[in-house]
């Protein structure tokens, strides 16, 4: 075949694909960003409500109905920071809480450091077996003073989910929060995230708290003393992603009563409900997402009245990936978890008994979170190709870019306005310019890269490749910010 013949063939193919898909793709881009905008409007309304609440707030110091909280901390090879983290968790401002650390068969000095810092002694107790566990528990330890509310459980290595399930069994308070050893909690974070439970004690089953990237901020003794912007662009862009997706997407969904995702680094659950549905699923990659779905399904199947809420106050801070390599692994894993969980709960789609979860939240996630990278990829390939082949002219290509990415920047900036109004965490003016720059830069390479990585994760799941956890890797969140 001659070169011209090849080009002509390609041309027809591209023309044909574009004919078929061009309008739907642009419509898709507009839809996805409009839906995000709708969520933002909803979140705006929610923030006005929150702002009203805040300026008329009556101080609640957590007396009375504040339910006790068990902080569950799965730890694998965290010798560097575990003691500091546990100390800071123990001194959170809350009337009644305990810390349960599960050493997931660490090969380093994690346990030794804890043992020394808290003068741990072994307790000959057996662990309750409310949530089934596969791995062997090696020992349970408490501080010698008999008063510090810390429990350390050692077990054979078998992954984060099992570690959390062991912690659930060892926990003694009615609420459980799953946190990572490198998370930093706001001193008043527990007060914020338990408030919905105190206000509606018979129906609330889970609440989620906002997370912010801690990169760049000044941390002393496990507390953030000064909030600063991350120093490099990759984490800065993630700051923007989190702002947009967590703060606004979550708050918007919460308002619609369809909150289905609770971020992996800070979710607070009623312990008895978690036990009832069987704890975290060790075989699932999207652990926390999967848990929330399981709770929704079970409670709706049984026709029980319940409530899940999102608290927009930043409750927890965590380090986000700084290098492309770590980021890639994270995004692969998230998308893979998203796919596997959505597929596992496909029976909930469009069924009336699942209410808004079934006809609104789940379809949205299928269309705009799961399939999004596929369609974006198509757009990324087809348009330059069409441009090269002269099928479209430069103005079209630019229009496409403007619509697709300009709109995304618009949505992000809306998120920034609302955040500035409600939380204004960053002091310096410089932070504003950097955030704006990050929201623009996001669309020049970063977004395209995450598209590819998400597809990689999805593809490896479809191929049945087992996810390489190795031993427990550092976890981030099991939610994919859009």
């Amino acid at each position: 075949m001659s070169w011209d013949g090849f080009v002509e063939g390609l041309r027809s193919f591209v023309l044909w694909s574009m004919d078929v898909t061009a309008v739907p793709i642009i419509v898709y881009f507009i839809l996805i960003n409009t839906s995000l905008l709708v969520l933002i409007v909803l979140a705006y309304l929610e923030f006005r409500a929150q702002q009203r609440r805040r300026s008329t707030a009556v101080s609640w110091q957590g007396a009375g109905l504040a339910p006790g909280v068990s902080l569950l901390v799965p730890a694998y090879n965290e010798e560097a920071g575990i003691v500091m983290a546990v100390k800071s968790f123990l001194t959170l401002r809350y009337p009644r809480h305990e810390v349960v650390v599960v050493d997931d068969g660490s090969s380093d000095q994690t346990f030794a450091r804890l043992e020394e810092a808290f003068d741990l002694v072994q307790v000959p107790r057996e662990l309750p077996h409310e949530v089934p566990i596969r791995a062997k528990v090696l020992g349970i330890f408490v501080p010698r003073d008999g008063r510090t509310r810390l429990v350390v459980v050692r077990k054979e290595n078998s992954g984060r989910s099992e570690a959390i399930n062991v912690a659930i069994n060892a926990a003694s308070e009615p609420l459980v929060a799953m946190i990572d050893g490198d998370s930093i909690l706001e001193p008043d974070g527990l007060l914020h995230v338990t408030r919905p439970f105190a206000d509606d004690p018979t129906r609330m089953v889970a609440t989620g708290g906002a997370i912010r990237p801690v990169n760049g901020s000044r941390v002393v003794s496990g507390r953030i003393v000064r909030v600063e912007m991350p120093q490099t662009w990759i984490p800065r862009i993630q700051l923007v992603e989190y702002l947009r997706a967590f703060l606004l997407g979550r708050t918007g969904w919460s308002r619609l009563g369809s909150l289905i995702l609770i971020s992996g680094a800070f979710g607070l659950f009623r312990r008895d409900v978690v036990v009832e549905v069987g704890g975290l699923d060790p075989n699932s990659i999207g652990e926390d997402f999967e848990l929330v779905m399981r709770i929704h399904k079970r409670l709706r199947d049984e026709g029980r009245e319940y409530s899940i809420e999102f608290v927009p106050e930043p409750v927890s801070w965590t380090e986000v990936p700084v290098t492309a390599k770590v980021l890639r692994n994270q995004r692969r894993r998230w998308h893979r978890g998203l796919w596997e969980t959505l597929w596992a709960y496909r029976s909930m789609l469009f069924r009336p008994k699942y209410g808004r979860i079934g006809w609104l939240a789940l379809p949205y996630y299928w269309l705009f979170e799961l399939f999004a990278p596929l369609l974006e990829l198509f757009g990324i390939i087809i348009v330059p190709l069409a441009l090269a082949l002269g099928i479209v002219n430069v103005p079209f290509a630019i229009l496409f870019l403007v619509l697709a990415y300009g709109y995304a920047v618009l949505v992000t900036l809306s998120a920034m306005v609302v955040d500035e109004w409600a939380f204004h965490k960053h002091d310096r003016w410089r932070a504003i310019w950097q955030t704006i720059a990050a929201s623009i830069l996001e669309n020049i390479g970063y977004r395209q890269a995450t598209v590819w990585w998400r597809l990689e994760g999805w593809w490896s799941s479809l191929r049945g490749k087992k996810h390489v956890w190795g031993v427990m890797t550092r976890t981030g969140f099991d939610e994919d910010p859009a």
Binding site: A22, R52, R53, S55, T56, V58, S59, W60, A63, G64, L65, A66, V121, V123, P124, R125, E126, L127, P128, H129, E130, V142, R144, D145, G146, R147, S172, P174, R195, A198, D199, D200, P201, T202, R203, D272, A386, I391, V392, N393, P395, F396, I398, L399, V402, L403, G406, Y407, V409, L410, L413, S414, M416, V417, E420, W421, H424, W429, I432, I436
Partner: protein
């Protein structure tokens, strides 16, 4: 697909324009916040020294307080707002002096009027002011506000009623928890009721029969907290038969706090294996709290339970019931539950 430059330029202008507007909005929001704070500080600065003098209780001759009463216009508004803030931080004679300043300013009367304002923030703040000023004559107004359409106002009204402490408001506060659509959050209700004196025990008894589960739970919880033994019959009924598990657990805890030896039976009854595990554990803890020796045989039986925590809780309870309790551990010496309970009891004693 060849499109005209006009369409492109049009779309680009719209989107770029919107972006610029939003950037300006971010900047404006921040700038406005800064200037507002600065303006307030400036207005307040000549009045701050006398305010601090009064608030710290150093205004023996009343000269500083009088100075505060002379404030007018916007300064007065800002000052009043600061006084209200200050009243959440101090109490005693200085607080009374500040309330007097508010009254002279007519702020209390103005707050009564503001309770009918269209603005939610104004109504809520007005309610809070009335509470902080201990304006007892406004209790009926605040009770009405418990049914306001805005939850912030409902919360503020309950808060104010708690501060004023009039037990006549207890019934309405409790009832407001279960109001359909406009419920009062349980936590605020509980805090308000906490400061309303002994007269509310009958109200709590009624509350335990309320159709709404949240109300029953708050009533049960507070009966326990405030040691209202008159509520025991209702608490027992809730533990036996309430459809909501949280209410039952709360009742068990309350019975543990204020029950007597005749309540051992009912708590023991709910430690049987057919009951939910969470309730069984709560009842054992309550038996420990109760501390009555009648419970010893039942606790001894629980030492063999398949749930290790339940067994350990039973062992802990037995250890605190004197020689008879410790005797009941005979034969279970090597059980992990008993050894753990012993170890922990020992550790606590050692560090006391």
């Amino acid at each position: 697909m060849i499109i005209g430059a006009a369409l492109l330029v049009g779309a680009t202008v719209v989107i770029l324009g919107a972006c610029v507007l939003l950037i300006l909005a971010v900047v404006a929001v921040r700038a406005r916040r800064h200037s507002r704070t600065q303006r307030d500080e400036m207005l307040l600065s000549p009045l701050r020294p006398p305010l601090i003098t009064v608030a710290s209780g150093e205004d023996d001759d009343g000269a500083a307080a009088e100075q505060l009463t002379w404030a007018t216009g916007v300064s007065r508004t800002v000052l009043d707002r600061n006084i209200v803030e200050m009243l959440t931080k101090i109490r005693g004679v200085p607080a009374e002096q500040l309330v007097h300043v508010l009254e002279v300013h007519g702020a209390v009367d103005a707050a009564v009027v503001e309770m009918s304002s269209r603005s939610t923030v104004k109504r809520a703040r007005a309610a809070q002011l009335l509470g902080l000023a201990r304006a007892g004559h406004t209790v009926p107004l605040l009770v009405e506000a418990l049914g306001d359409e805005a939850v912030e106002v409902r919360n503020s009204a309950a808060y104010a009623l708690g501060l004023i402490g009039d037990p006549a408001a207890a019934g309405p506060v409790l009832a407001a928890i279960g109001a359909p659509e406009r419920g009062l959050p349980a936590a605020t209700a509980a805090e308000a009721l906490q400061s309303m004196g002994v007269g509310i025990s009958e109200v709590l008894r009624d509350g335990m029969a309320d159709p709404n589960a949240r109300t029953r739970m708050v009533a049960a919880h507070l009966s326990g907290e405030r040691s209202f033994t008159r509520g025991l019959p209702e608490l027992r009924a809730l533990l036996d038969a309430d459809p909501d598990l949280t209410v039952r657990e709360t009742s068990a805890t309350a019975i543990g706090r204020l029950g007597r030896s005749e309540d051992v039976g009912i708590l023991v009854r709910h430690t049987v294996p057919s009951e939910p595990l969470a309730l069984r554990r709560a009842c054992v803890i309550a038996l420990d709290d109760l501390g009555e020796a009648e419970a010893i045989p039942a606790l001894a039986v629980l030492l063999d339970d398949s749930d290790p925590r339940l067994a350990e809780l039973a062992a802990t309870a037995l250890l605190s019931m004197g020689p008879d309790g410790r005797d009941a551990l005979a034969g279970h010496e090597n059980d992990p539950a008993v050894r753990s309970a012993r170890l922990l009891a020992g550790l606590q004693k050692a560090s006391a």
